[in-house]
Amino acid sequence: MSQLVPDLTTLLAPLSDGMSLAIPPDYSGVALAATQALLKRGVRDLHLIAVPQAGLQADLLIGAGCVKLLEAAGINLGEHGLAPRFTAAMQAGELRMRDATCPAIHAGLQAAEKGIPFIPLRGILGSDLLRVRPDWRVIDNPYGENDPIVLIPAIRPDVALFHARMADRDGNVWVGIRRELLLMAHAAQHTLVTVEEIYEGSLLDDPALAAGTIPALYVTRVCEVPGGMRPLGFEDEPSDAALLARYANVARSVEGFDGFLREWLA
């Protein structure tokens, strides 16, 4: 069976309300066209996992009321400043948050990748993150002596969703050096990908391409959506700075956000 599907509705069918959804940072490959489709569908109660941080995509989902739990090391709009709906939701005490630190999210996904329940990680001791993250434990290093170390539980997302350069007709997906996408695919139950283009031939035949390829084994569905990351940038294409600046400004109010969303989804 081929993973290639003709439209976003089919691509996103494996993602149900209430699932955990892993998304990449803005510098990687954000599937915003797919997010648009999710917003139109009215997805609800997501446990959103930013790997390890997120921006516009998370803010849109939060503002539209699609997120019941957020796990992230940081949410902002990059050079456009604070993510307005995230900030408002947190200040109103309306969003359940699992504050994290970047390497803890990477490490939790690495534990899932290895099929182990947790992974130790240096640093963090003395941070209030340990106070607000009771699921992070501190043990004494069993191979040392009087050496406290933090344990991070495995993060196994139901779904990973991202945008990549290309996929072949066998469902292999090329991500190049954006290997956090590979990590996400390894850790998640289902991986849903939009791509700029279809590669004719197998991405696994050429070792130079294969080194940057997620094998189809880890890929659930792929859909060809050129420009599927817009208005964010991708590779050498810059983000739409004017649109992001406008969003950062208008979305500070609920009315402004609703207006932006109506227009964007139209």
């Binding site: 949410i75 200040q91 990477h106 240096r122 640093g123 963090i124 003395g126």
Partner: protein, 244 residues
């Protein structure tokens, strides 16, 4: 601009760059234009320094995804890193999370990012914050994103060593800040009034050395050009135009 022949940002970049002398590898986080400028200035003056800048395509020599910076730091392959805070206290605790009650903060910030980890593992962490007010430099942060000091049994090859602000430079050791120098237009007394925590200072605190001609030339030439690829708006605001 002030009446000086350089901007506050240019002075801060020079002060921060001087702290990188003799190092092998400095890394700069995303959205850190001032540290990026300092790192590239240090490299321009001392070309052996390797500079890694997150968010840059040219100055990012990683191939293993988002985790590589952190794994690299844990192995001791990064000598210096820059961190900032919405609040910084006298114990060098930094807060990137929020002001007020955690569950319903008065002001919420983006989050801790890599601070809770890199603060422990990178030998020389340089804190920076241009705004130097008692709103930022508080007696005690409302939320500790990353702790400034640790008990002796905590594995901690890294930690804060310096703080550079728009008014002064401090050193941090043995759990306390010490005023090293004050920038033009201010003095130790004014710095103390703008700082919410106690710090040590000598009876006479020297002025921060002004940017040297070679520093300014590099900053306004090669560094300006390189940084504007990542932060064009910052460069236009912070750096004087190169002298023809």
């Amino acid at each position: 601009m002030n009446s000086l022949s350089y901007t506050e940002e240019e002075l801060m970049a020079c002060v921060m760059a001087r702290l990188l002398r003799g190092l092998r590898h400095v890394a700069v986080g995303a959205l850190s234009p001032l540290p990026a400028s300092a790192a590239l200035l240090a490299q321009a003056l001392e070309p052996g320094l390797q500079v890694t800048i997150l968010g840059s395509r040219k100055h990012l020599r990683f191939t293993d995804g988002g985790r590589e910076l952190f794994d690299c730091a844990a192995q001791g392959r990064i000598d210096a890193f820059f961190l900032s805070g919405a609040q910084i206290d006298g114990q060098a605790n930094i807060n990137l999370v929020g002001v007020g009650d955690y569950a319903k903060p008065d002001r919420r910030f983006p989050g801790s990012f890599g601070s809770a980890y890199l603060y422990h593992l990178v030998p020389k962490v340089i804190l920076f914050r241009q705004e130097h007010t008692a709103r930022i430099f508080v007696p005690q942060v409302d939320f500790i994103s990353a702790a400034g000091v640790s008990p002796p049994n905590v594995y901690r090859p890294g930690g804060p060593q310096h703080l550079v602000t728009g008014r002064a430079e401090f050193a941090f050791s043995e759990g306390q800040f010490r005023l090293v120098s004050t920038h033009p237009g201010t003095d130790a007394e004014a710095v103390r009034a703008a700082t919410g925590f106690e710090f040590e200072s000598a009876a006479s605190v020297p002025g921060t050395p002004a940017p040297a001609p070679d520093e300014l030339e590099a900053l306004r030439g090669a560094v300006r050009a390189a940084v504007s690829e990542i932060y064009p708006a910052f460069v236009a605001r912070a750096f004087a135009a190169p002298t023809p």
